[in-house]
Symmetry: C2
Subunit: 343 residues, 2 copies
């Protein structure tokens, strides 16, 4: 990947933008594309939840819980197992696979946790309004972490360091964390998992941040209409019509039917080159094929090899800088911590 | 846990030792207990392998591969899955569990990777002489990562960043990594996973590093004979007679019989309070019970509740400082990377 990030500094960005007056930046913004803001204040307006405010204490505690396999019934499956921060925030397999090696019953693919905060809805059928609500699902789903709320509470309450951290995070010496609180701090950690990229530098006014080919790709992306679903900060994250089951000629797997109106959540395109396989059922393994199919089925256009190549080049500019994550040293279990159950 | 690490500085250590002339330190050393050396030079004499020297480049590459689930057949199981650096270097379940949720056929428990470098032999039956050899096993074992050598090589060779890192690490622009090379760099990373503790400060001459109760526990540990198997830097890591299968009244699971002489590798006691369940088959869940049983079956002594309590307190001083590990951002798969196979 070309390293162009040094071409513009944040300080230069506005000046460059003003002088260059790049038509493509304007075009992209008009089409509904939005950058991750450079200023922390602006960013927090997008990622923070007033009902569950981000604090350093919650981030650190949420990170530990995100990586803690003991929250699962088996003691083996953490949030990070399917949403692996090392591999684009996904597991890289077709159907999500968890407890007892069970697969998602609808053959659904694990979406990336990176930038999930920018999505308007969570889960492929959009049934969840935010990450706090979403985080409760996989912990309890039988083919994922397969835990009960009681199991999660018992684990956390049996470990003095976790109790201390919750009391500290909520500034309440009598705080006793519930299942919801566990999901809440995990969600706080997830809210911070945003990955600004060269694409954002570009939209923030740095014309040099994208190569010629990447700009051409972006232009095609807009002109062909990809942007009609893949827009906003997430380049996705809204509910849209999608030809699932039945009409799904190229990947007739699973029985997923979208939400009650047959709508499916549009996946983010950020870090898309790191999150194969593609589509809600993970049926397509190369980005070239995914781009072609989307053109055909969603837009009714036949993209040329060259157009696909350029769109892929543009996608490369969406690979973002991952937050620095120290792998946690988790507090040890005690004699009161529930034993894992592999069955 | 009491924090006593600030009581002695390295500079003070010798002086304190000379003036205090602590009899227990001498007693412990005479009994065969050895500290992790404070000096890097002395430490490297113990952990380095002249046939596979430790370098920064190999550590960093080995770390990535250690965390990379794509080395497994399914794409889901990394070395870290069973030897989790977040949870004492183990998985915290009874039998090691991997590909397709299969369990170790002998019901064997995953030993900790922390300080494994100090063991004289690897695997519970001691069949492997070093970490380079050991690392080849789990990648190929059907109930663990279930990969073939060819799979591992194809994965690594399909990812340009890995190829570049190998060429750099081996200072050879034509270097093409083999399965053995992958195991070698993983082993290099593992060699650095040592966890010095207050116990080491104590043996290195800092009398104040242990509390009164911990010292009493250490004394009992020596006097009762625990030290006859749990000795050396690892407090374990040699092959010893052990009443397995048949005579194994308290935990008759699995069909493990040790090596050809019925000998079993003594597990390290470093970080033992973080690595439940205990014994080669993970049949015992509290350290108190484990201590009692070992006294009875191995030493023929009935330890009092108070003695068990003090030995446990001593074990607390064996909880070491874990190396700082940045969770890696792994290089993405390419269209040439083999697809994972969940079956």
């Amino acid at each position: 990947m070309k390293k162009l990030t040094i071409a513009c500094s944040a300080a230069l960005a506005l000046a460059v933008s003003a002088s260059a007056g790049d038509a493509l930046i304007e075009k992209a913004k008009k089409a509904g594309l939005k950058p991750i803001p450079e200023s922390k204040t602006e960013l927090y307006k997008l990622i923070d939840n007033p009902k569950n405010p981000i604090t350093d204490e919650k981030i650190e505690l949420g990170k530990k819980l995100y990586f803690d396999p003991r929250l699962s019934k088996s003691g083996l499956i953490s949030c990070n197992f399917c949403h692996n921060l090392a591999t684009g925030g996904v597991d890289g397999v077709g159907p999500a696979t968890g407890h007892m090696w069970r697969h998602n019953p609808h053959h659904l693919n694990s979406p990336t946790v990176y930038n999930a905060v920018f999505a308007k809805k969570q889960f492929w059928d959009g049934r969840s309004p935010d990450l706090e609500d979403q985080a409760q699902g996989p912990m309890q789903a039988p083919p994922e972490m397969a835990a009960t709320k009681q199991h999660v509470e018992k684990v956390v309450r049996s470990i003095p360091e976790y109790m201390k951290a919750f009391k500290h995070a909520y500034n309440d010496p009598k705080f006793v964390p519930t299942f919801k609180d566990v999901a809440d701090v995990i969600a706080v950690f997830e809210r911070t998992l945003v990955t600004p990229s060269r694409y954002d530098e570009f939209l923030n006014g740095c014309d040099k941040a994208l190569s010629k080919e990447e700009k051409e790709g972006l232009k095609i992306f807009i002109d062909k209409g990809c942007v009609s679903c893949h827009n906003g900060v997430a380049l996705g994250g809204t509910m849209q019509p999608f030809p699932v089951a039945g009409k799904y000629k190229y990947a007739n797997v699973g029985d997923f039917k979208g939400d009650k109106n047959g709508m499916v959540k549009v996946p983010t395109l950020r870090n898309i080159l790191e999150t194969r396989p593609y589509f809600h059922n993970g049926a397509v393994w190369t980005i070239e094929e995914a781009i072609e199919i989307m053109g055909e089925t969603q837009l009714g256009v036949k993209l040329s090899k060259n157009e696909v190549k350029k769109i892929k080049a543009f996608f490369g500019a969406l690979t973002g800088k991952k937050p620095y994550v120290r792998y946690p040293v988790l507090p040890p279990s005690t004699n009161k911590t529930p034993k894992p159950n592999l069955k």
